[in-house]
Amino acid sequence: MSDISKVMKMIKDKEVKFVDLRFTDTKGKWQHTAQTVETIDESTFEDGIMFDGSSIAGWKSIDKADMILKPDPSTAVMDPFTAQPQLVLFCDVIEPDDGKPYELDPRSTGKSRRIFKSNLVLVILLFLVLKLNFLSLMMSNGQLIRNILFTVLIQKKGHITLEPRWKVEIWDIDQKTKVDIFLFLL
């Protein structure tokens, strides 16, 4: 069974309602746009879906905004977080003019095929093992990390969110004086 047939079967078996098309912008942030399942069929993997590339920082100007998201069927995976069944697909970004990969699309740059084609030194596959650290700022129970000069809190309507609205607390050396500065981004 081809990758595309597998995706179509998965859509049926998992009773998928939305297909979320994802790509990565220049800075590395994962971006997404959701399609209702009715708009997806086998031809989607050939033709792709049009979107406005001008709103992605550093990409197209508004007069040449149209771009194509072409889903990679081998990447299909269910989103474990959505209330309604949603399938996630990684996409390559394609120029509508010539059907070639968009020059600034990071996933195309990282395509090992492109790299290996251009470097015939060795027939190679690069394997990467990743170890990452992340900090979870335990704020729900009011515990703030000690020994810090300033703390960044991201809060909205009493809930903790990932939205870019910052409150920066500045502590004086003796920790008696506290100044709050609100920085509103956007």
């Binding site: 093992v129 990743l130 335990m138 990932l162």
Partner: protein, 299 residues
């Protein structure tokens, strides 16, 4: 009274001192659901700092997986009423968060990095490391892509600042881990973090390594001692990573030919990346900083 980690004591007592076992386990199992091959999770040194390890894979899959990884961490943290960040240095004077990238190159089923040289490595592997060290400052523009990245890359805090390679020495920017089989022959780039674009980060490392192999760039002798304990005199000859995003973008601008081999990166891509990131540098440099109020308010 309560069971809390002591200063720098997060690594790694059992619960209830470690209160985040369940949240990490849920992150790992959700990642597995999304097709990642996960290997482990544990608390890290700093308060509220955690590590989740994933298995190796080819370049593009690893970059895709990293996007899923960050998505799962953000989403599960949010579900628990918490929030997680991959900022490399969110807390002053405490350990930063990095991304260690282990690399090996394969020809068919055989690792090109296995050989009879230093710690069971091949000449190709040494040249690859030589390429990484030579181009490290340009790689920094991708692997350490934020102004905040350079608050982690400072001496101390186990941060790998010195561009040297070493067997088992965790203070070197490139570490050659001890392995028991030739298949596992690899080395680890330790200076990167997860704040940038993984596709560019991995591709730039690979291009630097390939440049090293093509031009037989030897990385010199390994430094098998604690690099933090070196004297001023000894330190003089050891190159370092960049000290700021500005320096990294400048280095990328000047050292870009290795990335352009075979049009993998293009001038247009590199120029627009630098322009986009320079905006961040300027915004950061032009904004009055909270710590400036502490230092200068009463001048």
């Amino acid at each position: 009274m309560g069971h809390r980690p002591k200063d720098k004591g997060g690594y790694f007592p059992v619960p209830p001192v470690d209160s985040a076992t369940d949240i990490r386990a849920e992150m790992v199992s959700t990642m597995s659901e999304m097709g990642l091959e996960m290997e482990k999770h544990h608390h890290e040194v700093a308060p509220s700092q955690h590590e989740l390890g994933m298995k190796f894979g080819p370049l593009i899959k690893s970059a895709d997986d990293l996007q899923k990884y960050k998505y799962c961490v953000h989403m599960v943290a949010q579900a628990y009423g918490k929030t997680a960040t991959f900022m490399p240095k969110p807390v002053y004077n405490d350990n930063g968060s990095g991304m260690h990238v282990h690399q090996s190159v394969w020809k068919g089923n055989k690792s090109v990095f296995a050989g009879n040289g230093y710690n069971g490595l091949s000449d190709e592997c040494l040249y690859y490391i030589g390429g990484i060290i030579k181009h490290a400052k340009a790689i920094n523009a991708f692997s350490n892509a934020t102004t905040n990245s350079y608050k982690r890359l400072i001496p101390g805090f186990e941060a790998p600042v010195l561009l040297a390679y070493s067997f088992r020495n965790r203070s070197a920017a490139c570490r050659v881990p001890y392995v028991s089989s030739p298949k596992a022959a690899r080395f680890e780039v330790r200076f990167g973090d997860a704040s940038g674009n993984p596709y560019f980060t991995f591709a730039s490392m690979l291009m630097a390594g390939i440049d090293g192999i093509k031009n037989k760039i030897h990385p010199g002798e390994a430094m098998d001692k604690d690099l933090y304990a070196l004297s001023e005199e000894e330190l003089k000859g050891v190159p370092t990573v960049c000290g700021s995003l500005r320096e990294a973008l400048d280095s990328l601008d000047k050292d870009r030919d290795f990335l352009k081999a075979g049009n993998v990166f293009t001038d247009n891509l590199i120029d627009s990346y630098i322009a986009l990131k320079m905006d961040e540098v300027l915004q950061f440099e032009h904004t009055p900083h909270p710590v400036e109020f502490k230092m200068y308010y009463s001048v």
